[in-house]
């Protein structure tokens, strides 16, 4: 073997050796002696903390907790299922802010999904929206929000909350992992309703409050976003005292500031 070739082979050996020893040269580091979850007890590998399966989609933070776990948390923070079902009406009193304009607002809600909103526009005119057993009726133009969004809000209104009795209502819910909103880590749920509307809900992972909601129509077009803040307990049930309505582009259309919430329950 020539001297030149010897040097060449020695050089090759020096170059190949580090590559052979580098972490990327083998399979997983220590895979032979460090099998996956070998030290974790079986109950914690799956099935613990109500977690069974991960999200199916590519959520940025998929979670193991089940939909029932998240819904139960929501119900607990609202006083429990039976307590929630004993509510027969809720009246809200406050102000709608649209830009620099302010309008006195009253809202009455009752089961199953009845709602009446009255907003005083001026001394002589009001906006009124009603959802009753007979359907939806609007009188006047809703300040800030627009007629289409107002109709969609009424159509998708659930007195007890979207996620309550979701199976009985034939809603399909998918988990979409967790998402960090400003100051709040939220459970993200996607709710497909039989009426074609879709709601993307963000529930505070600490309190179960629905802090953000995006309503999408049957054609997949986002209609309105609702951001809820300033949650306070009224007779054991948490309500948002500040609600912002935003366009799909994030523009604030209107915000409601509530001063008083009155709740009536069925006599026990």
């Amino acid at each position: 073997m020539s001297k030149t070739l010897n040097h060449t082979l020695a050089g090759i050996a020096l170059l190949v050796l580090p590559a052979a020893l580098s972490p990327a040269s083998g399979a997983e580091p220590d895979s032979a002696v460090a099998p996956y979850a070998s030290e974790v007890p079986s109950y914690a590998v799956r099935g613990d903390k109500s977690g069974t399966f991960l999200d199916e989609d590519e959520a940025s933070m998929p979670i193991a907790q089940s939909i029932d776990f998240i819904v139960d948390q929501y119900l607990q923070q609202r006083g429990g299922y039976e307590s929630l079902k004993s509510i027969v009406s809720v009246d809200y009193y406050g102000t709608r802010h649209v830009g620099s304009e302010r309008y006195p607002l009253q809202r009455h809600e009752a089961p199953p999904n009845r709602s009446r909103i009255l907003i005083k526009i001026s001394e002589s005119s009001n906006f009124e929206s009603i959802r009753s057993d007979q359907g939806i009726r609007l009188e006047g133009s809703p300040p800030g929000i627009g007629t289409e969004a107002e109709r969609v809000l009424l159509k998708t209104f659930d007195f007890y909350g979207t996620v309550v009795d979701w199976k009985m209502k034939n809603y399909a819910i998918k988990r979409r992992g967790m998402e960090k909103l400003p100051g709040v880590l939220s459970w993200k749920l996607e709710v497909d309703r039989p009426d074609g509307y879709r709601q993307i809900l963000y529930l505070d992972s600490r309190y179960g409050d629905i802090v953000k909601e995006l309503v999408v129509n049957a054609r997949g077009v986002p209609i309105v976003e609702i951001a809820r803040h300033d949650f306070r307990a009224v007779e054991g049930v948490r309500f948002p005292f500040a609600v912002e309505y935003k366009s799909p582009t994030g523009e604030v259309l209107a915000s409601d500031r509530l001063e008083r919430i009155e709740m009536k329950r069925r006599p026990s």
Binding site: T8, A19, A24, A37, P41, D48, M178, R206
Partner: protein
């Protein structure tokens, strides 16, 4: 040297260097460190930061309750402390509830802090070592600890006992359930013992690993 030999040499040089480049790029992209079963890197990082207040969290990256804990502590400690070099954090992600390594990167974003390092520990042995150190009856994860500045991890088979701990597990004392405000108050108490020199800090991964730390 003849042209064929030179060509062969160049080809082998390329083959030899490609894995190194790939590995290096991979390390830079990962916002966490992959630990071996002996936890050598974690132990080195822990000991390299003696003299500082150290937090060690054992979490599952697909456990929403764990993620909420990280988020709560981000708000209660890290968002207020602004990269205090006296405060070093190790977040060890373990394979509970079906978690895989691919889940670690997303969870690593919940704490934003220069002196925090995330790790993926694929066997989950750290939970067993912590269980042994604490004398607990159950495997410890979703477990949140603080070590005082003097604590050292000398025995590789035995973790040091933390000076304060909280948890989010069903079978441990409820008065020890993670409360971010209580936890932050304990951190403040221990920090009072550490001089507030801004020049002492180095990210824990600088202790030996050439992998990236968690700063996003």
């Amino acid at each position: 040297m003849s042209k064929p030999v030179l060509t062969l040499f160049a080809g082998l040089l390329w083959l030899a260097l490609t894995p190194l480049v790939a590995w290096s790029a991979d390390s830079l992209q990962k916002p966490y460190i992959v630990l071996d079963r002996d936890l050598n890197q974690l132990r080195a990082d822990f000991n390299a930061n003696v003299g500082k207040v150290r937090m060690l969290y054992i979490v599952g990256p697909t456990c929403g309750i764990c993620l909420r804990g990280l988020s709560d502590l981000q708000e209660a400690i890290y968002a207020k402390r602004n990269d205090d070099p006296r405060l070093v954090t190790f977040v060890v992600h373990v394979p509970t509830l079906g978690a895989q390594e691919k889940n670690v990167a997303g969870a690593s974003k919940l704490i934003s802090n220069t002196y925090t390092t995330n790790y993926w520990e694929e066997t989950g042995i750290i939970g067993k070592l912590m269980q042994q150190a604490m004398g607990a009856e159950i495997y410890l994860w979703d477990f949140w600890t603080i070590y005082d500045p003097q604590a050292a991890w000398s025995d590789e088979h035995q973790m040091p006992v933390p000076s304060f701990w909280q948890h989010q597990l069903p079978r441990l004392p409820s008065d020890r359930t993670l409360n971010a405000n209580v936890f932050a108050a304990q951190v403040d108490t221990l920090l009072d013992r550490v001089p507030s020199s801004r020049s002492t800090g180095q990210p824990p991964s600088a202790a030996g690993a050439d992998s990236g730390n968690t700063k996003q």
